[in-house]
Structure formats: structure tokens, C-alpha cells
Symmetry: C2
Subunit: 595 residues, 2 copies
């Protein structure tokens, strides 16, 4: 399908005198997920993965994406002229390298400066300068060829009451301004949507699965300006902003504001999430203090109120998943169950939870070889039936008043191979080892990552993604600054793990065209002991869902690993026991039995 | 003792109009160890540790040092006016913070620019500017008060024949120039002594235990200039330099050369090892490409010739240590053995090895509570007798034609406490776990560090130093860029581990006034398997010395840990067996028996 759209884009390029045009996957805030209006790369290529950029030249169209999506991209691009460049593979050029070699003197490289982060925009500008070419960052060419482009989302904004947040806007602004002072900044331009939501104790619906509203914020020592789509504000919200002395301006007036206002002299800006157009406007008038958003770390360390809500919500969410597994096991072979209908049933169980708002990401409901695609999304138009053999992987989560959940289980539906059991068991051992880590203050996720991978690496197996990511509080399911990985981009500032930070723990094995395994629990960093050797942390596990005993090969588990699994399962049973039907209880007792 | 020297320094300061004067521990090359001529901080303070800086003001004298030396520094400073600031401890100000608060407008901050690295010099210059003060970096005030200052060392330079190096100077220069080209540099100023030795296949004797000669090098695409003390050159070396088109200039002419010559336009410089004076001279005339010395990584990845020599040398060196342990166990209680005489005996065994040159660092021979000081050096004037109780720690190594060694063993001399056995066993488990790591290409030491600490951390114990460092090849016993640590200074570029890199593995437990434990083996990174999931590495262990079975508490070892120890001991026995006396053989069989 992509060929027609690319041809149209080339016509626009030629009209505007642009030789190469870049379309990334981004909104104006460098958000990880974007609303349909911003899915311009997807419109152009047909590739639906959450990460990827396309470069269109007169002769070529190349898509770059990462390891999570290689299999999916190959499938979705097949039949189009778009070539796939696999990021991170040996001898695969980056887009920058490619442009460095192909962009000729006198040519023009185009992109929409609002959908590229500052650093990326600067990199392309540098390449253009080096090659005696030019850039044009003021044109959104895809908008002009996409006839049925969805409306820019403008959904209602709602309050997150203090009983869920644990801190008022006033308290948060106080903390934030203290951080600004520490960094010699007299103002702060905040572009990151979930940070804005967190700071103002509000939420929105402008991005599927991310309870955020399109917005910008400009904060000084005395003034707070919030740019939102005014027409969506209820009287209640307006009053709330007024009471908190938050000045409201139109979302689209943000660039005008930066152009016309006397900006503060020293503005803190997180260039990772500041778009190139914004950056150019600020740079023209102020000294930029380029630092990570100070809101990021404040948001990442969940407070006691948030943590106590999360414990409640994870218990309920885990129960929904547990009941789902029971239902699946009971009904498989009796009623028709597809990947999509299974996901729908799981969603219906979540919807019964009073605090439920929406899913926290599109459910990955993957049977058999589909699970080898890490971010597989079942297609309702091509239903895949679950049969009584092989494995089924379900990765899902919800947005709740009281937290964001994310959990993966891999379930046996019948006969499996010895290799699958081996892979499942090695994955589980890694998951258990990381969950039970003890570590000293100052450790980043890089120090811990090997605990999750060790059992796999010893067998020459790896998974091509991080082990874990931070999780928001009724916000983005992927949240920084912490993470559990062993590789970082050059120059990346790793954040040490601190008490109250939430991370996922999700090792896996992915064998193309055969099977995929992932086991994911969510953990909270907590203080274990402080003594003369320092402050030691460990993890509290929030997720309480049984792990498939049928998939274990005990040859790959030490006694200690078995003890850890037994202890976990004992807790899973005792937490859910009194909320289950007799039939569910008998089943849960059996699937959480000691091994 | 320090009070008199500090008073004298203050007189000089007042004469020169200097209000604060900094004396670091460094030579003109930011070498880790320095020859006696450069031990000016030690002269001033009496503190003999290898790391530490003193700041002398009119009212105060403050010494900063790191965790390895807290116990030692407290002891050596006692009775003097010098105050100890413990680096890295909570609420302890850095020297920079201290100066930021105390340096007043109009005051002068002094230091010798040749003994501060660029970044440190720039930091102090910035503080001075901020506080409206000035710096003076051209005065060496300690030199003017130190009456019996040792001569600047000027010892012979010798060749490291190609059969030991595996690569000629020509080949190395070719590789180096390729790296310069890759980084758009047309010249390279090299200040780091061991890199200079490596590049030119020479060695020297200007620093105790480091076979290096004082030197600088200036390398362009066509020219190579080496600055050394000319009078020490033999005819053979002169001829060798001539044949390799290496131009020789006087060591002290280096600064003059930088001042007078038309330098290349783009000079690569490793600012970590470039002194502040050098930096100021180069900056005035050239564009500096600030990167790590490209020689560093070339030197770190040992080639096949070097590795095959190292295997031989480590076998011989390990045998000396093994025989030493036998001797100690046999003679303890029969003849008088002190920390110093034990170290001397061990050295005598190493001297019997034909390839031996000198020790690679002063032997740490520490009985009982002395072992709690990580870098303890026995004082011949206060001999400490080894008794038939407690533990003895010996950390030692040699410089050889064919490698540099570094090994630590902790030995039981008689009754020990249950706690000591617990600490020893946890340390051993960490050492074994790291030695047997399997890891993917791209891992840095930070990914692996937790394997060595895990058993200790689970018991709330930590050691206040890195787990491992790189090791030179008949060069510095501490060598970069790789290492095994979990904490790095902000902005530090960690180097991924690569095949041929050598690292130590030396976890430990240090309990002040009670005991110290360290077990150290040296490892080489080697390729294990390459498959579709990537390139996996593991370690080859070079050190082959028995580990004290008497100190084990098997409650803290899993069966897997025991298997690893048994496999190691089996190898230790089989490697040494045929080189031992009957008595030694019987003993070694017993102390390497299966557990």
C-alpha cells in the first residue's frame, strides 16, 4: 500500500523543492505513543510499530526500526518499495550516515521541525551544512497529501484528586522551583505530556492508552502558564486552574508566545522532549540550561500515597489476569477463542474494577509463532484461533485511578516442545533472580540487568530489548529515568535506582516463526537495610499472577530458584483466595502448588 | 610531622602572594603511581597512600582521599594539624566545593600546572573566576621548601623485543594513525607514560614498580618526536629510534617545543592525562580534539603473542605464590616470620623466575587487623610478627618480560572466628561467580560487577572499591579503559569488554580493627560463542593459586559454587604438580581437594 502514498509525497517534495524528506514517529512532544493525527509515518508506510522513521528520496524510501519490530516490519512492508534498515545490526547504516553519504551539495533536506526533537534536528542540520545542503523544517508535507487525516485530538481533561496523588500542585511547584534554583534557572519550558499531567494533577485522553492531554507549560518563579485546547475545559477544571494560579492559554498559541514574549533569561529545557522548532525559538532569546526535566525524577519516585494505591490496584489487576487464565484454560476447546476475543475478555474483566479508566497499551495477545514479535498486535480482520497446543502470550495492562499496570504471562495451551520448556524455565529463573536482587544505593539498572539474563546467556540466548522500564502512575506505561538494560546509547545518563521507583522485570525468549516467551512482573524499589556499608535496596513485587508450572523443566532450576517460585506462588494464592469462586480457588491452589 | 612542612609552605605562599595552595598526588603525566621526586603531598603531610590531595590555606590544611585509605590516613595524620576529608562520604564537601565557599575576592589560588590534569586545572580556574579571585599555576612551592628533594629519576630505557610484543612500532604507528584519521586529527600529543612505552616497545625504570620512563610524544602523520632524558639512552636504543624514524628531543624541552613549533592544526589530546600547563600551550595554537588516547584501547586488547606469554608467566608467578603459602604454613611457629620477611621471601621466589624484572607494586603483606587497610604497606621499622591465629592477606605481583601479575590470597594461620569464615566464603562465592560469567558483546564491567558482590550484598556487606581493574603487559598494574565497578564518576565513558582484555577479579571484606579479606584472580576476556543472538564472551582465568579451604563455611556455598571451586582447584593442582617437591605436592593435593 505504501507505494501510492510515497509517490504523492514525492510530488509534494518536488513542488517545494525538497530532495529528501524525513517522517519520524512523533508528536510535537516526542511522546513514545502518539494519537492517530500524528501517525504520519504509519500512513506513509503501513508499518504500525511504535518506533520507526522513514526517509523518502527521489529514488529510495527507507524505514529504520529497532529489534522489537524487525519481524513485524518485514511482514508489514512486504510488497511495498520501502526498504527496511534494521537499527543496531552490524553494517546497517543509520539514517544520519545514509544522509551523510547521499545528500548532495545544493539539495534540500526537509522535515517538520515540530515532530523532531532538538538533538535529531541539529544532527540533520549539521549534516546538511557539512554537505553544503540546506534544511527546511517548516513544512508538514504528509498533512497536505493525507486526505482523511484524523482530527487533532481534543478530549476532556479531568482532575486526579489529591487522595490519589498524595501531593498538591502547590507542593509540586514548590519542589520544582527548588530544583530550578539549584540549577540557576529562572524559568522552565516543559513539553513532555506526562510530566505536565503529573505536575498539575490532571489527566486527559488525547493519546490512546496514555491519559494525557496535548499541552505545553511555561513556568517561572512567579508565573505558571499552561497551553491547552481551551474548548475542552470544564468549569470545574477552569476553577481549579484559577485557584492554583495557573494561567491558561491556547495550545496552538505556544509558538507565538515564545516568539512574542520577553522570555526569562535562563530557561531550563529538556532537549530530549523539546521539539526543534521550539528550541530554535527559545534559543533566539534566552540562555538554555539543557537538563533532564526536573519533574521526571520527582514523578518517578512514587510517594507513600501513590504506592499504597498501587498495591491495591495491582492486586485487583492481577486478579483479573488470574481469572482470565482460569477462564482460558477452562474454555479452550469448548468455545471458539481467538487472539482478539481473548484480549477482549481480559479487558472485560478489567472493566469490572471500579477504578479502571482504559487500557495502558494495546493488549499483546499472541498465539504460537506470533508471540515471537515482541509488540505483536492481533488483527481483527485476520483472526487467529487458539488451539490446544503450544503457548499463548498475553502482555496487557490498565490505567486506573491509583496506578498503571503492565503484566505478561506465557501460558501453555497443550503440547509444547522440550526447547520451549527450556526457554520458559531460563526466562523464569532470570525473572526470579532480578526480583530478588539486593543492591546498594548508587546502582543503576545496568548493574542489575545481568541477573535477568544470566541463565539465558549461559545457554547462548539473548533477548533484543531492555529487561525493564519505569512505569507511570496512571500515566505512561513506559516512564523514565530508570530502566533495567545493559546497553545504552553513547552519552546516556543512567539514573540510579531509588526508593519508590517502579520498574518492570520482563526477560524473554523470541524465536522467529516458532514461539515467544515473556514473563513480566512489576517491582518497586524499597529500602532493605542501612548500615555502615551503606543503604541497601531490594524489590517489592506488585504483580500477583500465577506462573505456568506446566512449562517448567526443573533441570534448569536450582533449589533456590524453586524456593523463590514457591514463595511467590504461596503469596499469589493467599492474596486472591478469598475473592475467588470455589472452582477458581481449587484451580489456583493446583497451579500455585509447591514444586 | 606535617605541621613544620605546612608552616614552611605557608611562608612561601605569603612570599608569593598566594592564599590557597593545592598539592595533588601526581607527576607531569597524571600517572597513578609517581616516583619519589613527585611525592610532594606525601612530603607535606606524611600520608603515604597513592591517592590524595591537600589544600593549604592560611588557617587550614585539609587532605582529601578515597575509601581505600580512610583508615590509613587517619593513622598517618594523627597528631598533625591536617584534617581528613573522606571523599564520597555523605555531607563531606569536595575540594572544589570547599574552595567555592572559602576563596575570597582578590585572593590567589596557587598550584603547579604541570601536576594537575586539564579538567582539574580548569575547574579551579572557573572557581577563581566565579569568586573574583585569580589563579597562579607557574609555581612549584613545595620544591622550594623541600631541602633533600630526591633527584628527578633518569634511569635506563630498554627495548621490549618483538617476540614479547607481537607487534612492531611500525605496525602500531600505522594503527594509531588510522585512528587519528578516523577522528579528523592530523597530530597527537601523548603524555601518558605507559602508552608511550607500549607504542615504542620500550620500558624504563623511572617509577617504582611501573616500568616506564619519563617522556612525552608528539606524533603527526609523518613525524614522530619522543621527549626523553637523552643522557640515559644507550647506543642500542639510539640506533633503534633512528631505524624507526623516531626523532629524539630532551624531556624538559617539551614545553619549549609546544611554545615555539608550528603545531598541527588539529591535535588529538587525552585531557585526562594532559597537564594543565601543556593544555594551555596547545590551546593557544591548535584546535584540540579531546578524546581518550587511541593507544589506550589498542594497548588494552592483548594480542595473541602477548596472551601466550601471559599464560606462561602467570603459571610461573602462581607457582611462586603457591610455594610461598606452603613455606609459610610449614614454617609458621618454627621460625620468626614478620609481614616484611614474608613479603621478602615471596619476592625471592619471584626473583628465581628468569623473566622477572621487578615487583609490579609494593607487596601488601598484612596480618590480622592490618589487612582491613586495603593498601596497607608493612613498615620495616615496626615489624609485625605472624602468629598461629587469625588470617594473613598477601596481595602482590611482578613485572616480567611477558606480562604483569597481580594476585591476592587470604590465608588462615590458625583459629579464626565464624564471622571471618562467613566473610571469606561470601567473598569467594563472588569471585567464582564473576570468573564464570558469560556475557554479551557490549557489556561493560558495570554489567558484571554485581556477580562479585551479590553474595555479600545479600548479607548487607559491601567493599568500598571497584571489583577489578585492567592490567598492563609488563606495564602499569592498573590500566584502562576497562574495569569492573558499579559506580562511575558522572560523565565517565565506560569501555565495553572485548576479547583480549585483562581484568582483575578481587572482591573482599574489610572490617576496621578486626580483619581484611581479599581473593584476587586475573582474567582474560575470550570469545565463547557467536550465534544469531550475538557474540558471547567468557573469562579465562590466568591465576592458578590454591584458595584456603580452612576458611570456608559451606553453609554459604551452593553445590554449584562448590563445583566451580573444585574445578578450579583441580586445574591448579594439575598445572603445578610436576614442578613441585614431593612434600609440596602432597600438601597441594590436600589443599586443593574436592569439597
Amino acid at each position: 500500500m505504501a507505494n501510492y502514498e510515497i509517490k504523492q509525497l514525492r510530488e509534494q517534495m518536488s513542488k517545494e523543492g525538497i530532495d529528501y524528506y524525513i517522517v519520524p514517529t512523533s508528536d510535537f512532544h516526542n511522546s513514545e505513543y502518539v494519537s492517530d493525527y500524528f501517525k504520519k509515518r504509519e500512513y506513509l508506510t503501513g508499518f504500525t510499530g511504535s518506533n520507526g522513521s522513514i526517509l523518502v528520496g527521489k529514488q529510495e524510501a527507507i524505514l529504520w526500526t529497532d529489534g522489537r519490530y524487525f519481524i513485524q516490519a518485514e511482514k508489514e512492508l512486504s510488497g511495498s518499495e520501502v526498504i527496511l534498515y534494521k537499527m543496531g545490526e552490524p553494517d546497517v547504516k543509520t539514517m544520519e550516515e545514509y544522509l551523510g553519504e547521499h545528500l548532495l551539495a545544493g539539495q534540500v533536506l526537509g522535515f517538520d521541525g515540530r515532530v523532531l526533537d532538538t538533538k535529531t534536528g541539529e544532527t540533520f542540520a549539521t549534516i546538511a551544512t557539512k554537505n553544503n545542503a540546506k534544511i527546511c523544517f517548516s513544512k508538514d508535507l504528509v498533512c497536505s497529501i493525507w486526505n482523511n487525516i484524523p482530527q487533532m485530538p481534543a478530549n476532556k481533561i479531568f482532575l486526579m484528586p489529591e487522595k490519589y496523588c498524595g501531593k498538591t500542585v502547590e507542593e509540586k511547584l514548590f519542589q520544582l522551583r527548588d530544583k530550578l534554583k539549584q540549577n540557576q534557572a529562572d524559568g522552565f519550558v516543559l513539553s513532555k505530556l506526562d510530566d505536565i499531567m503529573w505536575l498539575f494533577n490532571i489527566r486527559g485522553f488525547d493519546v490512546d492508552c496514555n491519559p494525557v492531554a496535548l499541552s505545553f507549560a511555561y513556568i517561572t518563579m512567579k508565573q505558571v502558564v499552561l497551553f491547552v485546547q481551551k474548548e475542552i475545559l470544564t468549569e470545574e477544571i477552569k476553577k481549579y486552574f484559577e485557584e492554583n494560579q495557573i494561567q491558561i492559554k491556547e495550545y496552538h498559541e505556544f509558538y507565538e508566545f515564545l516568539t512574542n514574549k520577553d522570555l526569562e533569561a535562563n530557561l531550563l529545557c529538556d532537549l530530549r522532549y523539546t521539539n526543534y522548532t521550539t528550541y530554535q525559538l527559545i534559543k533566539a532569546k534566552s540562555h538554555i540550561i539543557a537538563l533532564n526535566n526536573p519533574t521526571e525524577i520527582l514523578k518517578a519516585k512514587k510517594n507513600e500515597v501513590e504506592l499504597s494505591w498501587m498495591r491495591k490496584i495491582y492486586e485487583k489487576d492481577s486478579r483479573a489476569v488470574t481469572k482470565f487464565i482460569f477462564w482460558l484454560k477452562k474454555n479452550l476447546g469448548k468455545i471458539e477463542i481467538t487472539e482478539v476475543s481473548a484480549a477482549d475478555y481480559l479487558e472485560s474483566l478489567r472493566r469490572e474494577i471500579p477504578e479502571f479508566i482504559e487500557l495502558s497499551f494495546p493488549t499483546i495477545s499472541a498465539y504460537g509463532k506470533n508471540a515471537a514479535m515482541m509488540h505483536y498486535e492481533a488483527n481483527p480482520l485476520e483472526p487467529v484461533l487458539l488451539k490446544s497446543e503450544g503457548m499463548y502470550l498475553v502482555d496487557s495492562g490498565g490505567q486506573y485511578f491509583g496506578g498503571t499496570t503492565d503484566v505478561t504471562r506465557t501460558i501453555s495451551l497443550g503440547a509444547v516442545t522440550k526447547e520451549m520448556k527450556k526457554h520458559f524455565t531460563l526466562t523464569l529463573v532470570g525473572m526470579l533472580q532480578l526480583s530478588n536482587a539486593v543492591f546498594l544505593e548508587g546502582c543503576t539498572g545496568r548493574s542489575l540487568d545481568i541477573l535477568a539474563r544470566k541463565a539465558l546467556w549461559e545457554e547462548g540466548i539473548d533477548y533484543k530489548c531492555g529487561t525493564g522500564h519505569g512505569v507511570g502512575y496512571c500515566l505512561n506505561v513506559h516512564e523514565g529515568p530508570q530502566g533495567i538494560r545493559f546497553k545504552y546509547p553513547l552519552g546516556y545518563q543512567e539514573a540510579p535506582l531509588e526508593a519508590g521507583m517502579v520498574v518492570t522485570n520482563e526477560p524473554g525468549v523470541y524465536v522467529k516463526d516458532s514461539h515467544g516467551i515473556r514473563i513480566e512482573n512489576v517491582l518497586v524499589v524499597e529500602k532493605k537495610i542501612q548500615n555502615s556499608d551503606g543503604l541497601f535496596y531490594n524489590f517489592e513485587t506488585l504483580t500477583m499472577v500465577p506462573i505456568e508450572l506446566e512449562l517448567l523443566d526443573l533441570d534448569y532450576m536450582s533449589q533456590k530458584d524453586r524456593d523463590l517460585l514457591n514463595a511467590y506462588h504461596k503469596k499469589v494464592y493467599s492474596i486472591h483466595e478469598s475473592y475467588l469462586s470455589e472452582e477458581e480457588k481449587i484451580w489456583l491452589k493446583e497451579v500455585t502448588k509447591e514444586i
